[in-house]
C-alpha cells in the first residue's frame, strides 16, 4: 500500500493509487491509470512522421510515426538499445547537444515543425521539459535549483519565492524541505532529489514533461512516490515516459509504444517502432507477435 500524498489547493480529484499486488500484468493495465474514455479523441500535442535519427552514420531509429495526446501519459517501452531514449530526446532537441546527431522526418509540436530553421531550441526546452534518469540537481541550494529556470524566463524576483513554493508543492516535496530551502540539494536522498528535479522542470510552466527512466536509479519506495506524482501531474502536463519496467508502464500510462531492435537493409542494427496503441490493448491484446513476446517475457 502506498501512502497518499497530500497535495493541497488544486481542484483535482484526489485519487488513491494502489499498487496491485496481483502479478498479472493485464489486470494492472486494466485498472491502472486515469484514462479518459477514448484517448485518441484528445488533442494531439506531438505528431511524429517517419522519423529517422542518426548519430553520425549510425541510424539509431528508423521510420517512427506516432502521436502523443494532451494530458495523457505515453510510455515508450522496449529492450535496451532500441532507441527509446534517443527518440525521447528528439522531442526537446536535447540531441542537438551531441556532436553528429541529426534527424530526418518530422516532429510537429502543436502543428509547428520542431526542427524548422526558425525554431530556437532554447524556447523548445522551456516548453518541453525533461527529467533525467539519474537525478542531477545543481550544486546549489534547493531554492536556487527550482528558481534557476524561472529566473531565466524573466520571472521577477518578488515572485520567485512564490513560484518555487508552488513547484515544490506540486512535486510533493514542499513539506520535507520548506524549512531548509537554502540547504544544498546534495543533502537530499535520491528520491527527494528526483522530486526536486521534477519541481525544477515544472517551475518554468512547461506544456510537456519528458521523463527518461526517472525511477531506474531509485529504490522501490521512492519509485512508488514518483509514480503517484506522475499520475497526479498528468492532469496539468502531457507526460512522455521511457521505462524499462513494463509493469510501471502498465500501471501508469494511457498509451504505450513498444520499440525493438531490427536489422535494416544493410544488415546493421537500428531501432524501430513495433506497435503503438492504448496501454490496455498493448498489454492484453497486442497485434504484433514481437510485442506479445516481449510482454510475456519470452524475449528480453
Amino acid at each position: 500500500m502506498v501512502e497518499t500524498n497530500n497535495l493541497n489547493e488544486s481542484a483535482r480529484e484526489e485519487k488513491k493509487t494502489t499498487i496491485n499486488l496481483d502479478p498479472t500484468i493485464s489486470s494492472m493495465a486494466a485498472s491502472g491509470g486515469e484514462s479518459t474514455s477514448d484517448p485518441s479523441a484528445a488533442e494531439v500535442i506531438f505528431d511524429v512522421e517517419k522519423l529517422d535519427a542518426f548519430y553520425g552514420d549510425f541510424k539509431a531509429l528508423s521510420n517512427v510515426s506516432l502521436q502523443v495526446y494532451k494530458s495523457q501519459v505515453t510510455a515508450f517501452i522496449g529492450p535496451s538499445g532500441c532507441g527509446k531514449s534517443t527518440f525521447l530526446r528528439c522531442f526537446n532537441r536535447m540531441n542537438d547537444l551531441i556532436e553528429g546527431a541529426r534527424v530526418e522526418g518530422t516532429i510537429k509540436y502543436r502543428g509547428a515543425d520542431l526542427y524548422d530553421e526558425e525554431v530556437d531550441p532554447v524556447e523548445v526546452r522551456r516548453r518541453i521539459g525533461m527529467v533525467f534518469q539519474k537525478p542531477n540537481p545543481f550544486p546549489k541550494s534547493i531554492f536556487e535549483n527550482v528558481a534557476y529556470g524561472p529566473r531565466l524566463s524573466g520571472v521577477k524576483k518578488s515572485k520567485l519565492a512564490e513560484t518555487v513554493e508552488k513547484s515544490l508543492r506540486r512535486s510533493a516535496l514542499w513539506d520535507e524541505v520548506k524549512d531548509r530551502l537554502s540547504a544544498s540539494a546534495y543533502g537530499l536522498s535520491g528520491g527527494q532529489q528526483q522530486r526536486l528535479c521534477i519541481a525544477r522542470a515544472i517551475a518554468v510552466q512547461p506544456d510537456v514533461v519528458l521523463m527518461d527512466e526517472p525511477c531506474s536509479a531509485l529504490d522501490p519506495i521512492a519509485t512508488a512516490r514518483i509514480e503517484e506524482l506522475i499520475t497526479e501531474l498528468k492532469s496539468e502536463y502531457t507526460i512522455v515516459i521511457v521505462t524499462h519496467n513494463m509493469q510501471q508502464a502498465a500501471r501508469m500510462s494511457d498509451q504505450t509504444a513498444f520499440f525493438s531492435v531490427a536489422l535494416d537493409s544493410h544488415g546493421s542494427r537500428t531501432g524501430e517502432l513495433v506497435e503503438f496503441d492504448k496501454t490496455e490493448t498493448i498489454f492484453t491484446n497486442p497485434n504484433d507477435s514481437r510485442t506479445e513476446a516481449y510482454i510475456t517475457g519470452r524475449v528480453g
Binding site: R126, N136, P137
Partner: protein, 315 residues
C-alpha cells in the same frame, strides 16, 4: 605432492602447509630491500627540500637576524653589501604579478571555455589544443626572446620599452598554456548531467556557462591559476632578456603609477645579482633573499593547496 594416507602423514602435511603460508619477513629480503630503496629515493627528494631551507637560513642568518627590516626595505645598492635590500625586487615582482594575472587569466580561462564547451572535435579546437600543449613545454628563456622582440621593441608604444608591462606580458605568455590546461581539466570535471539539466530547463549556452558550469568549476580554476602565478614569481630568465635591471636602479621621484613604465627588477633577478657578486656578504644577501622568496612562494602554494582541499567539489 605425495598423497597423505595415515594420520601422521596428514599432520606433517598440514604443518608444512601452514609453514609455507607464513612467509617470514626475513625470507622476503628482495621485496623488503626494494621497498626500502623506494623509500630512500622518496626520502631523498623530500630531504633535499629540508636541507635547502636549512642551508639558506644558515647562510643568510647574519642578514635575516641582523638587519631584516633594512633588508626588506632597502634598494639594491651596488656600493655596499651591508646596505643592500630586496625592496625593489618585491615591488617589481608584485607589479609583474599583477600585469601577468591581468593578461593571462582572462585569456586562459576563455580559451579553456572555448575548448571544452564550444568547439569539441573541430579542426580548429584540435589545433589550439595541440598548440597549447606544445607551448607549455617551451623553455622560459625562449619566452624571454619573444618578450624582447615583440613586447619591448615592436610594441614599444604600449609597453614603453623595458618595463614591468613588457615583463608582465612576457610571463603571461609563458603562464598562459598552464592556465588553459588546468582550466580545461576543471571544466571537464563538471558532470555532464548538470549541463543537461541546465539546458533542459531552457537556457542559452551563455546562461548555462555563467550560471552553472563556471560557478561549479571556479574553485579548481582559481587554485590552478594561483599555482601558476606562483611559478611565474620565481622566473628570472625571461625577465633578464626583457631588461630587468641587473645593476643599480633607482625609482627616483616617480610615483607608483610611473614606476610601471620605468626601469624595473624582480625578486629572482635580484637573487641572481646577489649571487654573482663576489664575497661572503653578498652570498649572505643571496641566501637571505632566497629565504624571502621561498617563504613567499611556499606561502602562496600552501594557501592554494589548502583552498583546493577545503573547497574540493565532491560530486
Amino acid at each position: 605432492m605425495r598423497l597423505a594416507s595415515s594420520p601422521a602423514d596428514i599432520a606433517i602435511q598440514t604443518a608444512k602447509t601452514r609453514q609455507s603460508l607464513q612467509r617470514r619477513p626475513q625470507a622476503d629480503l628482495p621485496g623488503t630491500l626494494f621497498k626500502w630503496l623506494l623509500i630512500s629515493f622518496t626520502g631523498f627528494a623530500i630531504a633535499f627540500l629540508g636541507v635547502l631551507v636549512v642551508v639558506m637560513v644558515n647562510d643568510g642568518w647574519s642578514v635575516l637576524s641582523g638587519r631584516l627590516s633594512g633588508f626588506l626595505s632597502n634598494g639594491f645598492s651596488q656600493r655596499s653589501a651591508q646596505d643592500a635590500g630586496v625592496w625593489q625586487g618585491i615591488v617589481g615582482s608584485v607589479q609583474i604579478g599583477i600585469a601577468t594575472a591581468l593578461f593571462a587569466i582572462p585569456v586562459g580561462i576563455a580559451t579553456a571555455i572555448y575548448l571544452v564547451e564550444y568547439a569539441t572535435g573541430g579542426w580548429f579546437a584540435r589545433a589550439v589544443e595541440l598548440n597549447v600543449r606544445n607551448l607549455a613545454g617551451v623553455p622560459s628563456i625562449v619566452y624571454g626572446l619573444l618578450g624582447l622582440t615583440v613586447f619591448v621593441k615592436t610594441l614599444d608604444g604600449f609597453t614603453q620599452g623595458k618595463t614591468v608591462i613588457a615583463g608582465g606580458l612576457t610571463l603571461a605568455a609563458m603562464v598562459l598554456p598552464i592556465i588553459v590546461i588546468t582550466s580545461v581539466e576543471a571544466l571537464k570535471a563538471v558532470p555532464q548531467g548538470i549541463r543537461e539539466a541546465a539546458y533542459g530547463v531552457g537556457a542559452t549556452k551563455w546562461e548555462v556557462l555563467s550560471r552553472q558550469i563556471l560557478p561549479a568549476a571556479v574553485s579548481t580554476i582559481l587554485t590552478g591559476t594561483v599555482l601558476s602565478l606562483a611559478r611565474a614569481l620565481g622566473e628570472a630568465a625571461p625577465l633578464i632578456l626583457v631588461g630587468a635591471a641587473t645593476g643599480f636602479i633607482s625609482f627616483g621621484d616617480s610615483n607608483f603609477l610611473e614606476t610601471f613604465t620605468g626601469p624595473f627588477t624582480a625578486l629572482p633577478v635580484l637573487i641572481f645579482n646577489f649571487a654573482r657578486q663576489p664575497g661572503e656578504d653578498w652570498s649572505a644577501n643571496a641566501a637571505a633573499a632566497s629565504v624571502v622568496i621561498l617563504i613567499l612562494v611556499l606561502m602562496i602554494n600552501g594557501a592554494a593547496l589548502y583552498f583546493r582541499n577545503r573547497f574540493e567539489k565532491k560530486w
